[in-house]
Each structure stands twice: as C-alpha cells, then as structure tokens.
Symmetry: C2
Subunit: 289 residues, 2 copies
C-alpha cells in the first residue's frame, strides 16, 4: 500500500479558484472588491518574500492589495496611527502587519490596535477569545491552523472521536488548531518539548500534526499504517554536500512508505496558509455587507 500524499498546492489552488469566483460575485452583485492592506516595517528579506507572495496571490483572486512599506526606524506611535487610519478606511476590509517587527515596537500593542473585524490573521485577543469559547463562526481563525484542518478533512471529513496528537502549542498554529479539533469533537493531545513519551503518543494517534520547527522529530518507528500526518514545520537543513534544503518536522522519506496519508514540505501546509489568508479577507469583507 502506498501512502496518499496530501497535495496542499493543488488543494490551495482549488480553494483560490472558489475564492476568485466569490470575489467576482461580490463585485457584480455588490460592487465591492475585498481589499487587504499589508504593512511591512523594514526590509527583512524573508518578510519581503512573504509580503510579495501575499500581494501577488491576493491580486490573482481579484482582490485589491495595498502594500505599505514603512522604514525600520518608524516610531510605535506612527505605526499605530497608520493602523488606526486603516481601521477607519471603509475601502479596506483586512489588515495584516507582517511579523516580526523591529524590537522597539511592541507587537502585542500593534495587534490589539487592529480592529478585530479587520484582523485577517486572527491574532487579536477578541478573535482568540471567540475561537477559544467556541464562537468559531464569529472569529477570524489563524490561517495555518484552519488550513491544516482543511487538509485533515480532505482525508478524514469527520474527525469525531479521532485521537489527534498536536505537537507544539504555539499561538499561531498548535493552540488554535487544537481548539478547532476539539470543536469538531476529536480527542486532542497537545505535546510540547517536555513531553516524555512522544513515540507512544504518536503510535496511539489517528492523526499527527507537528508544528515545532524541529527537523526529524517524527520518525518512521513512531507511525503506523493508518497514521495521517500533517507536517507544519519548515526547517532549512544543511545536506552532506554543503547545500541546504527545506524539510518539515517529519522524516518524510522514512514515514511515507508506512502511513495512510502525509503532507510534503514544501507543498503541504504552506500553500494553505496564504489561501486561507485570502479566505479570511473574503470573510471579513462579506461580514461588512
């Protein structure tokens, strides 16, 4: 039996086609074009790549994208003012501040200044709170978390009663994803760097999600023929010949022959994150109608 490779690139592409249709529909019926404002402070090369990809894909689905580049030495108060202006701009439906920010700026304050109804990342306390108490439909959900759930549902549409192991409890992925899975009535275990019996927990899980940033954390001896593996990690490792390579948290080559389904890195969760950014932007725009 060969494992199914969960093709995040293809699934994200299908989702974006749906989003593009809805955007067109909104334009035709309501003369509104969803618009996202992306704020980039400084010129970190990795951040520039991310912001560029977000802008390009927003335009691909027919959305308006406003990129705002601010100097590295902008004051916190100037940045907050910029956000407040976007909050009150009726033509902007979604605001994203690319993280990390320079050290002299308090990221929490920045996130809390974004109007929760324009908070496309779902990081504002009000959105976090809504997700936590189960008001899923009223919250914006962090993109990587909801994108990972989408990939799980491609293989397992009903996760009621499934044993799911989430490795890593970050606020961006592990924590919101755990909450989504609980909402769907899965039995969820959240492991962290102090977990003693990771192999045992993996072996007893129907679905394993790893979001730690530790390469080769999940290996072939930990999985079984019914394992579904969602690999959220992105790690750059150096190969023997000195070149580098992107890998996830999971030993893909070792696990692939043994499991039911697995996401590749790259091409698994990654593409879903941006697709759900667009989905969230669409959702925030529709909510305003």
């Amino acid at each position: 039996m060969t494992a199914q490779i969960i093709d995040g690139k293809k699934i994200a592409q299908d989702l974006k086609i749906k989003i593009a249709k809805e955007v067109k529909n909104l334009q035709e019926k309501h003369h509104i074009t969803p618009a996202i404002a992306v704020i980039l402070v400084g010129d970190d090369p990795a951040s520039k790549v991310y912001v560029g990809a977000k802008e390009r894909q927003a335009k691909e689905v027919g959305m308006n994208s406003l990129q705002i580049n601010l100097a590295d030495n902008i004051s916190e108060i100037e940045l907050l003012d910029k956000i407040k202006k976007l909050n009150s701009d009726p033509k902007i439906h979604a605001i994203l501040v690319q993280l990390p920010l320079p050290k002299h700026i308090n990221s929490d304050k920045v996130i809390e200044t974004i109007d929760p109804n324009k908070d496309v990342d779902g990081f504002h306390l009000i959105n976090v709170g809504k997700l936590t108490i189960g008001k899923i439909d009223e919250a914006t959900i962090p993109c990587t978390a909801i994108g990972s759930l989408h990939l799980i549902n491609e293989i397992e549409p009903d996760i009621t009663g499934k044993n799911i192991l989430v490795i890593g409890s970050s606020n961006i992925v592990g924590m919101p994803l755990s909450r989504l899975l609980m909402h769907k009535k899965a039995t969820v275990t959240i492991a962290n760097s102090k977990t003693r019996n990771l192999k045992f927990l993996c072996q007893n899980a129907d679905i394993i999600i790893s979001a730690t940033g530790v390469a080769n954390l999940v290996t072939a001896d930990m999985v079984h023929e019914n394992s579904i593996i969602i690999d959220v990690g992105i790690n750059r490792i150096t190969k023997k010949d000195g070149t580098t390579k992107l890998v996830g948290d999971v030993d893909f080559d070792g696990c692939y022959p043994k499991v039911k389904a697995i996401t590749p890195v790259p091409g698994g969760v990654g593409p879903m994150t941006i697709a759900y950014l667009l989905q969230n932007c669409l959702y925030l725009c529709i909510k305003r109608l």
Copy 2:
C-alpha cells in the same frame, strides 16, 4: 497504601487566611478595601444559595460585598446599564453576574459589557484571549480552573512533562484548565463525550481531571496506584432508599483504595472556587493601585 484525600476545604481555608491578611494590609497601607458587586437576576433558589455564600465569604476575608437583586423581568438594556454604572464606580473592583440569566437576556452580551479589569469570573473575551495566548499574569483566570490547578500543585508542585487527562472541555473549567496545564508544560489530553478510549487514556494519565457532570464516569478499573484524581463534577443522585446525595464524576469509593490522591465531593474543588473568586477580587483591586 492509602490514598491521600485532597482536602479542598482546608486548602481553601488556608488560602482565605492569606487573602484576609492581604486585605488588611491593603486597608492599612492604602486605605482601600477590595469590593465585589454580585448581581442576581430573579430568585432561582440555587443561585440565591451561591450568591449568599459568595457574599458571606467575601465579608469573612474583610472585603466589601454589594449584592444587587434585580427582578426576573428586568430588560437587557437595564441590566447592561447597571453593569456600566458599576464599571465606572471606582469603589467597585470586581463584578460578578450570577449565571444562568433569564432567557430574554443575552448572557454573552452581559459578560462582554463587564469591564475586563473588573471581570472577576474571567469570562470576558479579552481575559479568555489573554489566557489562551499565555499572558497568564495579565488575565483573570476562571475560578474553578485555577482552583483545580492549586489542588494538583498541593500533590505535584511541578507538572512539567506529566501526562494529564482533562475530561470535559467547557469554557468554565475544562478549556481554561487545559490551557493552564499546557502553560506549565504538562502534556494535556482533552477528552469529550465522543472519546472512544477513555479507559485507556485514564490508565495512561498521571493526573485525571473530570469535569463533565456524569456520575460514575471514572471507575476503579481505569485508575492506577500513581493516579492523582481531581473531581470537578457535582451530581445529585438518588440512592436506593429514595434519598438524594451529592457525588462527583468519579466513583470515589471504588477509586480511593487504588490511587495516590483524590479529591472528595463535596469538599474538594467546590470550596476552591469561592476562595479563588476572592483571590481574583483581591488581584483586580491590587491591579488598580
């Protein structure tokens, strides 16, 4: 070996002695007395008992307690106005609205109207969000959740890497307690009514917390000699002779001889809930200094 019975009544009493000292200290040094306003809508007998106990114990530790009784048919807007007045009253540090409310009143709206800095129950979205993202020190934590953690720590001061099973994922207990345990680097599994393998999960847990309201859910065959059991359930059952009795979710008589430590019902988690209500009131008062 005999199990240790975790004496919540005694532990709560000790905590209240500490709180009373701090209240006295605040009065002497800052001429401030922590004050809690408790709003009771209607005359549900159980709610009246709870509210009475809260008021009595607040006074016992030297706090001011303002009980506000409102008629069953009060309009939502009148109730919200009452809360807003308390929000802006500098002599009130903590506000509690006794739940459940009559059906014509939207409880969520009521909770969101309470100033997060006076939200003694920790139910406001901002407090839920802060707890979820790990800003524990800035949040008010729901009383039963933090009270349960206190009982665990009496037996196990360091829960790093411990396998903890939380049965029930309510917003009042299971969810916030899970988050607290994760924050302390425990490996947490959250089970619910659809969980397939509860016995297996119990057997593999160092600590079991049950908060479901299902009597006899955890039985002797599920536990082992190192199990620590925190029973949050309160269920009234009818005995063979027709009289009724309060029990938890755990078969206490069956489990007690087999485990390391266990909370009784009543006298376990229950007393901790009110003690932490007072602790939260004290915390909110100190925060304002």
